[in-house]
């Protein structure tokens, strides 16, 4: 829609802290000016008013932006959040606990930036933290305390979201014998070394070197080279329940909330990895109680672990797309057990339901590949489909063996 505003004051509506606010502003007025002078939201501070100090930082659709560098008219159609919109968040508490301010003038800008960082990169490393925090200046030089406050929040995020061993510990199974590397492609960046990459992915350096025999000298790598990252967090996935092909690098072309919404359906919608995991684990536990069904129970458990790997990948993609994989963020429909085809105490019905679930998942992934014009996501979904097809084969073999039923290849 073509927008045309004359140079005089004009009535505008902008979404600030979840409320639609009516303002009257010149097109030449900055967002900072309007927030403070018209809406009395004085948390955003005028400092340099030149985009240098960051005291005026607010969030625009979740991303930190210096409000002195944005016209108020540009805010139309976007969600603005100021420090007044934050209530008792972990980062606010952490600033208090760590004494991360002195005079306080820069604090609201810092908090907005750090809040966004904790949401967008909850597992940020030191390099990312440093890069983000360089956007704000503190003339009282509370930088050390501010860094501590941010790291405290991020480490809590990480400890409540353990990446390693959660597949193993949640199921309490011994899969030591089945260990086999699951790999991901990684493009070497300028400044990378094997040591830094190993640190970044929390894997032993020797494991990374071993996974890349094509690199003659690990001390001589160049930007643009592609190496394999053995995913230690996934190394517990039994290899016999997934295909051996490596998984594509988890990356996206750019942020896209709509694509994130679609991937969220695969993540925790009705037909989703979450549903599959819960369903297969339930079937596993029931079958395990019957010794004659132990073989199928093992299969259900193994495939559930592979689905967890898929879940992990999809969650990362959602974050890369600029959204959050938390399903209780107020925008998404919460996942519900009603999505599951339980079929209690009927293992043959359970196997049939599992096969149907895999077909449903494949159809949904295929539909999303059609819509999502992002080659990186398309490649990942196509790779996941291969696993799901393999699962159909495995489930079908058990259905034939234990129930004497043959499933047609394309129901």
């Amino acid at each position: 829609m073509f927008v045309s505003l004359n140079k005089n004051k004009v009535p505008l509506e902008i979404d600030v802290n979840g409320e639609i606010k009516s303002i009257v502003a010149r097109p030449a007025d900055t967002l900072l000016y309007v927030l403070r002078e018209q809406l009395s939201l004085t948390g955003a501070k005028p400092g340099c008013e030149n985009g240098d100090c960051g005291a005026c930082t607010v969030l625009v659709d979740g991303w930190p932006v210096k409000s002195c560098l944005m016209l108020a008219v540009e805010a139309i159609g976007h969600k603005i959040m100021t420090i007044e919109g934050l209530k008792d968040t972990p980062i606010q508490k952490s600033f208090i606990e760590n004494w991360a301010f002195q005079c306080g003038y820069c604090t609201s800008g810092f908090i907005m930036n750090c809040y966004a960082l904790s949401k967008i990169h909850p597992d940020a490393n030191d390099e990312v933290i440093q890069e983000w925090l360089q956007s704000n200046l503190c003339r009282c030089t509370s930088y050390e305390e501010i860094k501590k406050a941010v790291k405290s929040v991020l480490s809590k995020n990480n400890s409540s979201n353990p990446k390693s061993d959660h597949h193993h510990s949640s199921l309490g199974i011994n899969v030591r014998d089945n260990r086999r590397d699951v790999k991901m492609n990684y493009t070497i960046q300028s400044g990378d070394s094997f040591y830094l990459i190993a640190q970044k992915y929390n894997i032993p350096l020797n494991e990374l070197i071993r996974a890349n025999p094509q690199i003659d000298n690990p001390e001589h790598i160049f930007p643009g080279q592609i190496i394999d990252i053995p995913l230690s967090s996934c190394s517990q996935v039994p290899s016999r329940y997934r295909l051996p092909d490596p998984y594509p690098e988890r990356r996206v072309v750019g942020k896209n909330p709509y694509y994130a919404q679609l991937i969220f359906d695969d993540y925790a919608g009705k037909v989703s990895e979450t549903t599959a995991i819960m369903q297969y684990i339930h079937h596993h536990m029931e079958m395990e109680a019957t010794p004659s069904w132990q073989e199928v129970a093992d299969l259900e458990e193994g495939i559930a672990i592979v689905e967890m790997l898929h879940l992990d990948m999809l969650g990362e993609i959602i974050i890369h797309l600029g959204a959050s994989p938390y399903y209780h963020d107020g925008r998404q429909q919460p996942w519900t057990p009603q999505f599951i085809a339980y079929h209690s105490f009927d293992p043959c019905a359970q196997l049939r339901a599992d096969i149907q679930s895999e077909y449903d998942a494949i159809h949904q992934y295929q539909a999303h590949i059609e819509v999502i014009q992002d080659p990186f996501i398309q490649a990942l979904l196509a790779r996941i489909i291969k696993d799901e097809e393999f699962h159909i084969k495995l489930f079908s073999e058990k259905l034939a063996k234990f129930c004497g039923e043959i499933i047609s290849p394309n129901p």
Binding site: L5, G224, Q225, K255, Q373
Partner: protein
């Protein structure tokens, strides 16, 4: 606060944009195309520029593309530099983007705005010069698709009323070895003393510079000299410095002599790292 008023237009198509520009220009309003707007807002606040109308091109779908199609990477002019970093779709470009301003500013600063801006560094253009990209330009008579190395000479040479819509790069360039180095006087988030992006293709290292001279540039003559392995490295670098397209910048950030010293060492490092030594 910006000390003067201007009209604001946000067209939804390329043709609306160029038509609006033409009309406003006819009315003597000295219109400016407005993308991220960071430079226009800061310069207007200081009264370094004046306009009676801005035309915000962020609402044009073609300016917001970021995808690969037919082995071409298509980047819209309104894509923010942070998007390029986060997508990592073209690692060299992601690295080069990180050298501009600070992270929060880059959430608003667009690739097109940086390339077409008045601030002399315009570092986002360097990877596109190195990768022989093409630019898509919109003007009154339609769309032009031209090699950037033809149309970028010190600045992006646009016709009156023309604006940058997209940058198109062969996706193969995202796979070549590269280095992206920025040297500042003190802090990371500062204007560069020198900024060099380099990329190795077919055994030859390509170089693009910012901060060295009063404009960003890539020079085939300089590349030829720097890749000539028959000459000792130090001589190659000295020879390259003798054919720079303009005298080395000499200002409060650094003297020309100091910049030259930093430039020599940085070139030596790059050639060493990308395997271009004798």
């Amino acid at each position: 606060m910006i000390p003067f008023d201007f009209e604001y237009y946000k067209p939804a198509s390329m043709m609306e944009a160029v038509d609006t520009f033409r009309l406003l220009n006819t009315q003597g309003k000295a219109p400016l195309y407005f993308n991220g707007g960071t430079e226009i807002i800061t310069m207007a606040r200081r009264s370094h520029i004046f306009t009676e109308a801005v035309i915000d091109i962020k609402g044009i779908p073609e300016c917001n593309t970021l995808y690969i199609q037919n082995e071409k990477l298509v980047i819209g002019a309104s894509v923010a530099l942070t998007q390029l970093e986060e997508s990592n779709i073209f690692p060299l470009l992601g690295r080069a983007s990180r050298k501009v301003a600070d992270h929060t500013v880059r959430n608003k600063l667009t690739v097109g705005g940086n390339i077409c801006g008045r601030i002399t560094f315009r570092e986002a253009v360097l990877p596109f010069l190195l990768s022989d990209s093409k630019v898509v330009l919109a003007e009154q008579t339609g769309i032009r698709n031209v090699p950037i190395n033809q149309v970028f000479n010190k600045t992006l040479n646009l016709e009156e009323g023309e604006f940058l819509v997209q940058l198109v790069t062969d996706v193969g360039y995202s796979q070549f070895p590269f280095m992206s180095i920025k040297k500042t006087k003190q802090e990371k988030s500062a204007y560069p003393l020198i900024s060099i992006d380099s990329l190795k293709k077919d055994g030859q290292i390509r170089f693009a510079f910012s901060g060295v001279c009063p404009f960003p540039f890539r020079s085939s003559n300089i590349e030829q000299v720097l890749n000539d392995k028959t000459i000792p490295l130090e001589l190659r670098i000295n020879k390259a410095l003798s054919i720079l397209p303009a005298p080395i910048n000499n200002n409060i950030e650094a003297s020309a002599e100091y910049r030259e010293f930093v430039l020599k060492n940085t070139l030596s490092d790059i050639i060493l790292m990308l395997g271009g030594r004798n």
